[in-house]
């Protein structure tokens, strides 16, 4: 029963990550992504998925899907119904699942963040309904599989487990909120483990939307650069397997890292613009630190939301300055959106996995195309690939609508 439950545990469980899956424009899986982020490779190219000839921006970070999906429990018919977003989700989840070593279970929560779900199917539905209204072929399937909960169910069927599905859609904070929500479920019960992450594929509507807002860069996406002129879109997915430390130890699992803090709140300033002083951003970073029992002095790396828009980056820079205080002068910060673009509902989850990579492999992901750091940044922006001692990493995610989230991960050694 979800209610009533026994009172929340007074002693929260420690929550560790025992599996991580990732697909971005840098590649499929941990290894190519780690290599790409470590060297600061950028993965933008002309958009091929839809026509952008009449848009201001022409490029994005498209992911390369494998020619065939890996073997799962899905039937050929089910596989044929997967759209691009669902395929990205399945690929990331399968990697996390395999790495975790979990067996199929009956009550395993799946918590996902997305902003667009199966948007490409919705677009196809709309085009056919307008252009060929009396043709019904494929429309019922599109109407169902467009919905993110149906895409999530495909993951359950593919991997052979069952459990509650929760779809969080707090715009670009969705992925971080999904992981944070899973963490809370495990930390205080009732769950002992959960799969959580985020996914989004490029779609014409969303690309056009950001282009209409003139939020897309027409040059190069350069978060925190004084001459930045906008964000670049990308696509991908990331999923992590979370479980209590006791559970992981009991089966001698390989622990990738520990999730130790999560803060979230809502900025009511504007639907699409952050508060100029980053008040809510600062608040969620402080919340996460308080829960994690760390100070900015203990944080070794910040993976910023850093979209590359003028308003976001200046607001976030002020918030980081204020939150970090004197530590700001030596606190390494970067935005990996410089490499793979803004993954929207997947961003928070992908960036959490990037933090895991920095903790596991002890390097910092650079923004190699950054030219002139914004003077508002009182912190050093990582510009060159380098090894580093990283014990604690913080990841920021903020969304349209104002939901902000921060996750703090700790190295497992």
């Amino acid at each position: 029963m979800l209610f009533p439950t026994t009172s929340p545990s007074q002693t929260p469980s420690r929550v560790v990550i025992t599996g991580a899956g990732i697909i971005t424009a840098l590649g499929l899986g941990w290894k190519p992504n780690a290599e790409g982020f470590r060297t600061g490779r950028t993965a933008f190219r002309p958009v091929s998925l839809f026509d952008v000839s009449r848009q201001r921006a022409k490029s994005a970070a498209e992911a390369d899907l494998p020619a065939a999906l890996p073997s799962t429990n899905l039937s050929a018919r089910q596989i044929a119904r997967l759209d691009r977003a669902a395929s990205l989700l399945l690929l990331a989840t399968q990697e996390a699942w395999q790495q975790s070593g979990w067996e199929p279970a009956e009550n395993l929560p799946l918590i996902l963040g997305t902003t667009a779900g199966g948007m490409s199917l919705g677009e196809a539905y709309f085009r056919q309904a307008v252009q060929m209204p009396h043709r019904h072929r494929c429309q019922p399937t599109r109407a169902v599989h467009y919905q993110p909960q149906v895409q999530a169910r495909m993951v359950l069927d593919a991997l052979g487990f069952n459990g509650p599905i929760t779809i969080v859609s707090n715009a670009c904070a969705s992925g971080a909120n999904a992981i944070g929500h899973a963490w809370e479920l495990i930390r205080y019960g009732p769950a002992e483990r959960a799969l959580a992450g985020g996914y989004d594929a490029l779609s014409e509507l969303v690309f056009s939307g950001f282009d209409a807002l003139q939020a897309l860069s027409t040059t190069i996406c350069r978060p925190f650069d004084a001459r930045r002129d906008g964000l670049a879109l990308g696509e991908g997915a990331a999923v992590v397997a979370l479980e209590t430390l006791e559970s992981a130890r009991s089966r001698n699992a390989d622990i990738l890292g520990e999730l130790v803090g999560y803060g979230t709140s809502i900025d009511q300033h504007h639907l699409t613009q952050p508060h100029p002083h980053g008040d809510t951003t600062m608040m969620v970073m402080r919340q996460a630190c308080e829960i994690a029992d760390v100070t900015p002095g203990n944080v070794d790396y910040v993976n910023a939301h850093g979209t590359g828009t003028v308003l976001n980056d200046s607001s976030e820079a002020l918030a980081i300055n204020e939150w970090a205080g004197r530590r700001a002068a030596t606190l390494p910060v970067s935005s990996t959106k410089a490499s793979i673009g803004h993954l929207l509902g997947a961003a928070g989850a992908v960036e959490a996995v990037v933090c895991l990579m920095t903790l596991r492999e002890q390097w910092l992901p650079p923004e190699t195309l950054l030219e002139t750091p914004d003077p508002a940044c009182q912190f050093p922006i990582v510009q060159q690939p380098r090894d580093a001692h990283v014990n604690v990493a913080l990841s920021n995610s903020f969304g349209f609508g104002g939901v902000n989230a921060s996750l703090i991960l700790r190295r497992w050694a």
Binding site: P4, I165, N170, S208
Partner: protein, 388 residues
């Protein structure tokens, strides 16, 4: 074990812009009239139950954040303000408020308009429309209007997800992260949504609107109703079809309810004794003081699992969708609002909500009378359409 109370309710539906209008329509029991909805390329329009224009323009629409917003936001804000009115009257506005907005279809009006403009010429697609297409837009606007929202989230899923939204609100309350939590289910409608429903459930009549519950921890803020149970989410999968999930939900709700007859008799005396009927394993007798608020529409195929799960139910029941229309997540919220309202008005000791979602899960909940609070929700009324 903690207790969670309902501090207020809100509803916007094809019946009107408050809970009273919803109650009156349900009591009357007649399906509300339908209106034509034009569908491009078709001579014959689809039918929909549209939310009527409010008799007086709501004051909240003057809020600067609500300029250019679409109907779903108007519905969500209206229900939020109605549901929170009691809480605001009872204490100053400095409570920490949580907000969970649940959607299935979401902001379809501006999504269609914006994509239509994109297809015609992306260079002239309106930047004012795009931000209103995101699922998170209504929650953002509600938070801006209410101000003291400290925690907010938007959940997407099939209609049973509304109970997941309530469970999230309960979690925030139990962890003392908020003092009260609004849970809103909202939808708007347009021709493409009606077209999609026509493909999937031809007898259904699409509608829009919203419903809201304001949850709290403190008994003194209770409107006379408390949350008694929420079942697990019985997720459909290759190993669990809708029929099996609906049965599992029913069984779990019954298991959680074994003490309810005792409670009914304590509260209402011997008149509340149970109707003598044999029940199968795992089931228990219904009482005339216990309402079933189900999610049945007018589609035999879609309704079959829920009908089967409750085939032995002998108590009174009500089916809001048959009167108000298929409101997706809003309809799930109306079920909960109607259940709480029936209990708060003193007509029932408890009310079960059955949600057998279209493509994700079956979930159930029960709301029960809380005698520690004073009901300010309802002036009561005759059972009307509630079928014995």
């Amino acid at each position: 074990m903690s207790r969670v109370f309902v501090a207020g309710l809100g509803a916007v539906s094809s019946a009107g812009w408050n809970v009273v209008a919803l109650r009156e329509a349900l009591d009357k029991g007649d399906p509300l009239p339908t209106q034509p909805m034009e569908r491009p390329g078709w001579a014959r329009p689809l039918q929909a139950r549209l939310v009527p224009n409010p008799s007086v323009r709501p004051e909240f629409l003057a809020h600067p954040r609500l300029r250019r917003t679409s109907p779903i936001t108007h519905y969500a804000v209206a229900t939020a303000l109605e549901a929170i009115a009691g809480l605001r009257a009872a204490r100053d506005s400095k409570h920490r408020l949580g907000l969970v907005v649940c959607l299935q279809s979401g902001c379809v009006n501006y999504s269609c308009r914006f994509y239509d403009e994109t297809l015609k010429d992306p260079a002239t697609a309106s930047p004012l429309l795009f931000p209103e297409t995101v699922y998170a837009a209504p929650a953002s606007h509600v938070a801006a209007v209410l101000e003291h929202v400290s925690l907010a989230s938007t959940l997407v899923g099939d209609p049973a997800s509304f109970l997941q939204g309530i469970a999230v609100g309960v979690q925030w309350l139990e962890e003392h992260r908020v003092d009260a939590c609004l849970v809103i289910g909202a939808e708007e409608t347009n021709w493409i949504l009606a077209d999609a429903l026509w493909h999937l459930e031809r007898p259904a009549v699409i509608t829009g609107g919203a419903g809201a519950l304001c949850l709290c921890r403190e008994p003194e803020l209770s409107a006379g109703v408390e949350l008694a149970a929420i079942t697990d989410a019985h997720t459909y999968s290759s190993g669990l079809d809708r029929m099996q999930a609906a049965r599992a939900m029913r069984g779990q709700l019954d298991q959680s309810n074994l003490l309810e007859p005792v409670r009914a008799e304590l509260l209402l005396g011997p008149a509340a004794r149970f109707t003598p009927k044999a029940f199968g394993a795992g089931c228990r007798p219904a009482t005339s003081q216990e309402l079933l608020c189900d999610g049945l529409g007018n589609n035999p195929r879609a309704d079959a699992p829920e009908l089967a799960a409750w085939c032995d139910w002998t108590g009174p029941r009500i089916s809001p969708k048959r009167i108000l229309g298929e409101g997706l997540m809003a309809a799930a919220a109306w079920q909960c609002v109607a259940a709480c309202d029936a209990v708060a008005s003193g007509r029932f000791v408890s009310a079960n909500v059955s949600l057998v979602g279209s493509n994700q899960q079956a979930m159930g909940a029960r709301f029960a009378r809380d005698d520690s609070g004073i009901s300010h929700l309802s002036a009561g009324g005759s059972p009307g359409n509630i079928r014995p």
